[in-house]
Amino acid sequence: MSWNRVAVVGAGLIKFGELFEQSYEQMAAGAFQAAVGSVDRGFDPSQVEAAFVATQRGSLWGQEGIAGNTVPSAIGLAGIACTRIENACPSGSDAFRVGAMAVASGVHDVVLVIGVEKMRDKSTEEGLLSRAAAGHPIFTRGETAPVLFAPFATRHMHEYGTTREMLAAVAVKNHYNGARDPFAHFQNEITIDDVIASPSVCHPLHLLDCCPQTDGAAATLLVSAERAGEFTDKPVYVAGFGVGTDHPYLHEKAAFTGLKATTLAAERAYEMAGVEPAQVDCAEVHDCFTITEILDIEDLGFVEKGKGGVASLDGETSLRGRIPVNTSGGLLAKGHPIGATGVAQLTECWWQLRGEAGDRQVETPNGYALQHNVGGRGSGVSVVNILTTNAP
């Protein structure tokens, strides 16, 4: 495969949370300014040739028409090329992949990838929960987001002996990390008992097994690797990426112990990057629910299939563990503003690889960090991006 190498020279986000006081446009501007401000040698915004915008929910009040033209105006770059990417929960990571391909193809030299999402401008009932009534009138009726993942928990517990404590350990670890991330929605530590005692949302998942609804925005600046030196001495490169899909309805899943879309995306990303799972130093993975992280670390090859629960309880994925996962607090603690999520995960990977992650910094001896999202109806689409400090 022949492609021009791509460097990430800037990344940033705004503090995630319930940002009732900020508009969609203000959040976008904040993230863009943070990314611009992160460029070591300074960055003139007018250098951006094209932007790729990730926003998943264009249906919130007043945002029904979000398209490619919304963000350039908001960030002072009206007129530039801009395309909106909507690909379910991996929207942000897929926008990054598409932005990287725009540079890799040689069409563009400087690209902005920005994810922006307003989750709290609509009530919970009219927002995420309303999908209980969406989709197929019979086969998906009652299918809120937890219904897409809870059946995997039921089956994983049945087949592998995964326990409630193991699920809870994921939330405890990610809240611990979130308490050390100034951008996280939740910055408080919790206990296993807290998780198990929280109200049942969708058996077997409880409230603290679920990510919150969060507003947020994040941005990255991608340039051709040969021009990286204009911007920084510490470039981070795109090592590889992959997308995988699966049948969209739950009754079409061959198994409820893993997510096939993740496995396919990971295989493709590892092959493109030329790395093995064991070479990954840290990972930001899609933990919309605790069970999802357990499935992810198995599907991404960090632990053996069926051992994700035990590994989580044993601390293998903690900051000082064998493979630190979701050092930013993950979706569970940092939040899940859908379009922004993947871009914010990539920002965390960028910081970790540059040694700028503060209290939550981990060792990165191999120079590889992996970012992953999975989502859509029935976890039917997944994106994996791999970043590296190793020069191409």
């Binding site: 009932e125 009219e126 929960l129 309303s130 999908r131 209980a132 009534a133 969406a134 989709g135 197929h136 009138p137 019979i138 086969f139 009726r141 009652g142 299918e143 809120t144 937890p146 219904v147 809870a150 059946p151 995997f152 039921t154 089956r155 049945h158 109200p199 049942s200 949302v201 969708c202 058996h203 077997p204 998942l205 049948h247 309805y249 739950l250 009754h251 079409e252 899943k253 409820f256």
Partner: protein
């Protein structure tokens, strides 16, 4: 020259909930001493799902293939669509042929007898060789009315044939009188009674029911099904006819006054032995009596009492909510796919007929067919439509506790491996208590939604029926 009208099999159904009369009395500050209970439909049940359950049992007991039924005659006081495809939806859900005939009788609790007589006429005339009769009702009383605690729900079904079976229709008599009795005005949602119960009893009910009953009493009647809308009138009429407690008392005790279903429901259980059963239906100013003479137990009759004996006690608030007399304030979340939209037209047969498309190349059953132009296993485009099996095993499940109105928690959902190898994901009836991986389930018709006055039906999973239908 007419054919005889014989009964091949019978079936019955009761709703999931039982409202104790004491709950109703307590809600209105009435003193203790209220006795009895009434059947109430759960939020996912109605007259159509009750009819489907009862007719399904009668058909299973008949041993016939559903698609040889020539017609469906359905009686119910208020069909689920005020105007609409009530009859067609029920016929499709029962797997009847798209060529099947029949009629929907409605407008009063007399509708069940009208359905029976119409079906009998079709068999007698030779226009139907196999006629399916179902009487189903779910009475919606005005809150606080005197008969509220008695207003129940249930369904009974018969498979009529011109040849075979252990029983035959022996006699029929009808009397009419143009007076208001129990009624519902145009645009009203709940049923009303006459203002004076003695006016109703002395001038309307007892004279007409007694006259019909006396005509049938000339036969050697072994068991009676008599209308008993208030818990006393049935006994009054029985005494006038010189009989003891009517056989129908047990059905009334189990599910209350099941309206248009009451006459048949009170009588089909008595067909578990030889002899003549007289069934009297009343409503809308009309009374009809039918005598059925059995030479031997009729298929399906032996389990009727067990079917009616089930049910979960419900409180008054739950009963009101289930009857949609207690509704949440504010907006409810509308279906993403409105019932009047194209996808319901495309999906009508596959959803109500519960169809899958079986891949000719690899055997995988894809569901539903309309969203699978290519096989999910091998990408082939060669399929044959097949009806899905209606039994399966739970592969995995959840119980959803967090949904906006109109959803009601807890809502179990399960991925089910059907015995034919197909896999489906469906809602599960009830609260999910006791649901486990490996649980065996049956697929039953239930109401998934009721939106802008329109019901939406589909199949749900239910714990396997412990009451076996005796094989013919």
């Amino acid at each position: 020259m007419t054919s005889p009208v014989r009964i091949l099999s019978v079936g019955a159904a009761a709703p999931a909930l039982r409202l104790p009369a004491a709950e109703v009395a307590a809600a209105w500050g009435r003193g203790p001493g209220a006795r009895g209970q009434a059947g109430v439909c759960a939020p996912d049940e109605d007259v159509l799902t009750l009819a489907a359950d009862a007719a399904g049992r009668a058909l299973a007991a008949s041993g016939l293939q559903n698609d040889i039924v020539d017609g469906l005659w359905w009686g119910t006081t208020r069909p689920p669509f005020a105007e609409g495809p009530s009859h067609a939806v029920l016929a499709a859900a029962l797997g009847l042929s798209s060529h099947s005939a029949g009629a929907l009788c409605s407008g009063s609790p007399h509708a069940g007898m009208e359905a029976l007589l119409s079906a009998a006429d079709a068999v007698a005339a030779g226009s139907a060789r196999v006629a399916l009769v179902v009487a189903a009702d779910a009475v919606v009383p005005g809150p606080g009315t005197g008969y509220e605690a008695r207003a129940g729900a249930g369904a009974a079904a018969m498979v009529l044939v011109s040849d075979g079976g252990q029983a035959a229709l022996a006699a029929r008599v009808t009397r009419t009188r143009p007076v208001l009795d129990r009624y519902r005005g145009d645009g009203e949602s709940s049923t009303r009674d006459l203002y004076d119960s003695r006016l109703f009893r002395d001038q309307i009910f007892v004279p007409i029911v007694r006259e019909v009953g006396e005509q049938l009493a000339a036969l050697d009647v072994r068991a009676w099904s008599l209308p008993d809308p208030d818990g006393r009138l049935g006994g009054v009429v029985a005494k006038k006819l010189g009989t003891a407690v009517p056989a129908s008392a047990s059905a009334y005790g189990a599910v209350g006054d099941s309206g248009a279903a009451a006459a048949l429901l009170g009588g089909v259980g008595a067909l578990d032995a030889a002899g003549t059963v007289a069934m009297v239906g009343y409503g809308g100013g009309r009374a009809t009596g039918v005598a059925v003479t059995a030479d031997a137990p009729v298929r399906g009759a032996a389990v009727i009492a067990d079917v009616l004996a089930r049910g979960r006690p419900a409180g008054y608030a739950e009963a009101l909510r289930s009857r949609r007399q207690l509704t949440p304030a504010g907006e409810t979340v509308p279906m993403g796919v409105p019932p009047e939209s194209a996808s319901f037209v495309r999906g009508a047969d596959e959803m109500l007929g519960l169809l899958g498309s079986r891949c000719v190349d690899c055997g995988t059953i894809n569901t539903p067919p309309s969203i699978h132009p290519h096989c999910i296993s091998c990408a082939s485009t060669k399929f044959e439509l097949v009806p899905l099996a209606r039994q399966g095993v739970v592969h995995t499940f959840v119980v959803n506790h967090t949904m906006p109105a109109p959803f009601v928690a807890p809502l179990p959902l399960a991925v089910i491996d059907l015995v034919d190898g197909a896999r489906v994901m469906l809602q599960v009836t009830g609260s999910g208590d006791g649901l486990e991986i490996g649980s065996t389930v049956d697929l039953v018709l239930r109401r998934y939604a009721h939106e802008r006055g329109v019901p939406v039906y589909g199949f749900k999973a239910e714990a396997t029926d412990s009451i076996a239908v005796e094989a013919p």
